[in-house]
Amino acid sequence: MIQLRNLERYYKSGFQKSWVLKGINLDVKQGEFITIMGDSGAGKSTLLQIIGMLDAANKGEYNFFDEEVHRFNEKKRTELYKHYIGFVFQAYHLIDDLTVYENIETPLIYRGIKSKERKPMVAELLDRFNIVAKKDLFPDQLSGGQQQLVGLARAIIGKPKLLLADEPTGNLHTKQGEEIMQLFKELHNEGMTIIQVTHSEKNAQYGDRIVHLEDGYVREDKNVNELLERN
């Protein structure tokens, strides 16, 4: 599904380049649940952003379903957002002026789906995430966990092939975090490809593969089971 070859990301300051990512090679198969880990500054968020096209590499190749993403223009990127990628952010990033229902509905509107078809889709997710009662509330009337539920619902309503999550539980209590991670697991079981960035070893256990970054390099890329055995 995703192939990264010799990906580099650096910032220039004067004559010096400071590297954030260097020589990244990564293959993601459909249906995988990958966790990217590493210390602060290891480049994990940048890697996720490049995969999510929020950022672009300076060098290297990025293929998504055999398409060369590094050559994409704005329009194609929008297409990809619409049909293939869903995002979950640490800070939720909901639209303040829209209700829970409307926030979840918005991606469908951009995809041009008719109101009649949108309704059952949104209703189903509200039901699945147990937030039917909150559907008319605005984000600032919700707890963090509830907001992240909405954020997740919004990310997956378009049935994306790939779900990207940047520290999805970073701002949540343990219990709320567990709830979210449980949902990730369910989605994974249903066949969705997920890439998450996290500090938490515990959260990493929900996935099936862990990519460990260190100073911009891939230090380790192992199956969760392998790691468990090793421990």
Binding site: K75, T78, I95, Y110, R111
Partner: protein, 818 residues
Amino acid sequence: MLKHNLRLIFRKFKKDKSTFSINLIGLTVGLVVAISIFGWVINELSYDKFHVKSDNIYRVINERFQNGEMVQKGTITYPTIGPTMLKDYPEVINNTRISYQGTMNIAKDDKILRIDDAQFTDQHFFEMFDFELLAGDKNTALSETNQVVLTEGIAKQLFDIRNENYESIIGESIVMDRDEHPSKVVGVLKDFPSNSIFQPTVLGSYATFIRYSGEGADNSWDWSDFYHYLELDPKADVVALEAKFPAFSKKYFVDEGLTQSEERFFLQPLADAYLYSSDLEYKIMKTGSARSVWSLLAIAIMILTIAWVNYINLSSVKAIERAKEVGLQRVIGAGKKQLTFQFLQEAFLINGMAVLLAIPVTLFFQPWFYDVMGVDQSAAVIPHLDFLSYLMYGGFGLLIFLGILISGLYPSYLLSSKNTPEVLKGKFQNTTSSRFLRKGLVVFQFTMSISLIIITMFVYRQIKFLNQKDLGVKIDQVMIFNGPELTGWDSLFIEKMNAFTASLSQFPNIQSANSSSRVPGQRTGRIFSLKVKGDEDNTSFMSNFINADSKYDDTYDLKTLAGRFFRPDDSNTDGSLVKNIVINEAARKMVGIESNEAAIGQVFNFFGNDYNVVGVFNDYHQRSIRHAIEPLVIIPYYATFNPVSVKLATSDIDRTIAQVKTSYESFFPGNAFEYTFLDDQFARLYQADKNFGQILLFFTFLAIFVACLGLFGLASYTAHLRTKEIGIRKVLGSSVSQIVKLLSLDFLKLVFVAVLLAMPIAWYCSQQWLQEYEYRISMEATVFILSGGIALGIAFLTISFQSLKAAVGDPVESLRND
């Protein structure tokens, strides 16, 4: 999508009420002004375009030159011009001529109406112009002697007309002034539409006028008192035709042999007659001012632009807040087009709301505006859509569309071009270029507003100057009433009039009374071949003249500088025995006499007679201050239609007027008594200027108001963004005044730049505006300084309110919030 966006936009409006109100109020004010002025401009441009032949009709303009100088430029000329041009030039296919009679008394049996704007014209008038006859035959009306066409309003006053049955008065006879031959009513005209320069009350047949005034009214080449309209062949080349006119003058006027002046002729398109005639003398028609039309249109566009600039500026500062959301919308799949659409929708929505609000406000505001602009709202308007008005409508529509488009696209451009992750991380900063643009736009708004302040000040000073300038005569407390127009002229008239004015002077509250052909403020007749006896070059001069009796100088406080003013015995009922005249200083200077004393005893020749100069009096403004003082000769003639002037004491005016009326009616029974006050008449001469000043002041106020609304919004948002900085500064010991200064100075600098830019612009515009006045105020620096000060003051008040609010806030609070 649409619904979704609308929901989002409405919630934004609700959340940020101050930005929303600033935009809505500004746009509404801009639109109200624009729609009102636009409607008025369309009306001003529609004058006389409704005639089918309008494009082919031209008015004859006659310029007269003497001794190398233009002495008259007007629509007034000789009775032979139109018919001769029709005869000589195949491209002229029709002509009509008009003689303006002014005030007339028309009578049906015992009922007498004193009417203004009576005119005589021929049957071709109806062939060329499309005025509707309610009764009578257009093809024959005014073709014969003793025919008259009345307007609807006059017909109703004179006759008892039932059920609009105007046919019932066709064939009825009426008496015009003291004409022993009654005239037959051959037509009733629908009242003239307000968008026509023609506003006569009664049209007598030209043939009647010839019978009344002699053949000269038909065939004279030196009696200049007539107005001509020509209809040209649609294929005619006007420039080529005008090029033939010098030869025309040479042939018929024998160079300067006939009128002692060089006669030049031009054609003015009928469509231009209303707006482009401010430099023409002896106009009898309604005139407007192109200067007012285009300047007010410019002001309307300015105010509207200022409102759009507010929208652009406020959305560009708010972009900082908006950026995160836009970035997010992109990540969840919104395309650039969808985002642009959303921004445009927002712009169209708020402008649309402003339009909806502007319509009722305009309906409320427009009558006042029309009233001040002197638009007769009771009269019908015949609308006409020609290319120009389509162009205007199209241009106006396009302007509004572009305004909305640009103001809607700019924030969308600003936000959707940004890099998404930066925006999502909240790193969005205004770029230098957008900051520069915003500052530039504020400068632009204030440059326009300050220019308007300066121009308005000059306009007001000029109007004040016109009202206060010494006329050279005293016009206050002077009552004017009509002469005994219906009393017969006989050898006793002068004695009777003298007895009447003398009897008035007996009243304790009357200082003086006299009779004269014109009173100050009225335009005069002209002598074109005034010669001085003994002048070797036999030069012809042009001078104005009026007729007046021996007490004219007392009533108007005229100063005799040499010799004497008239004595009663200078006048005579036999005109040929009138030998003495008085002249003003300008006339003395014109003919080249060294001193006032030297003028006494000189002999002037004009109208075929010799006159002795017995006195020289001071120059005074016979016409309004708009015009230069011209040479003036006063001749001691009397006439029944000469108005009477009465100088009153300040007390008990009503009773005095009643006394004058009683006395007048006993001396001259059968005449109407209609009086006015001269200072009112004078004030009316400047009414248009005054109205323009009033409108200008009002619009200037609106322009500043809208510009300050925007500034208020910017200042409040900037203060909000800098809350943390202010908190830190306060913790570090900064005083409130230091913080107010910090926050205000940035904006005040912009306003100061605007003051500097506005000065040359306003200087140029004011100069242009003042050009139309013969006597004008100088461009004083104080006006510029004062205007700049006012602008800075208003701006400071606007900003400091916000700055002060931010500065007095609790610093701990603002820091904790972060």
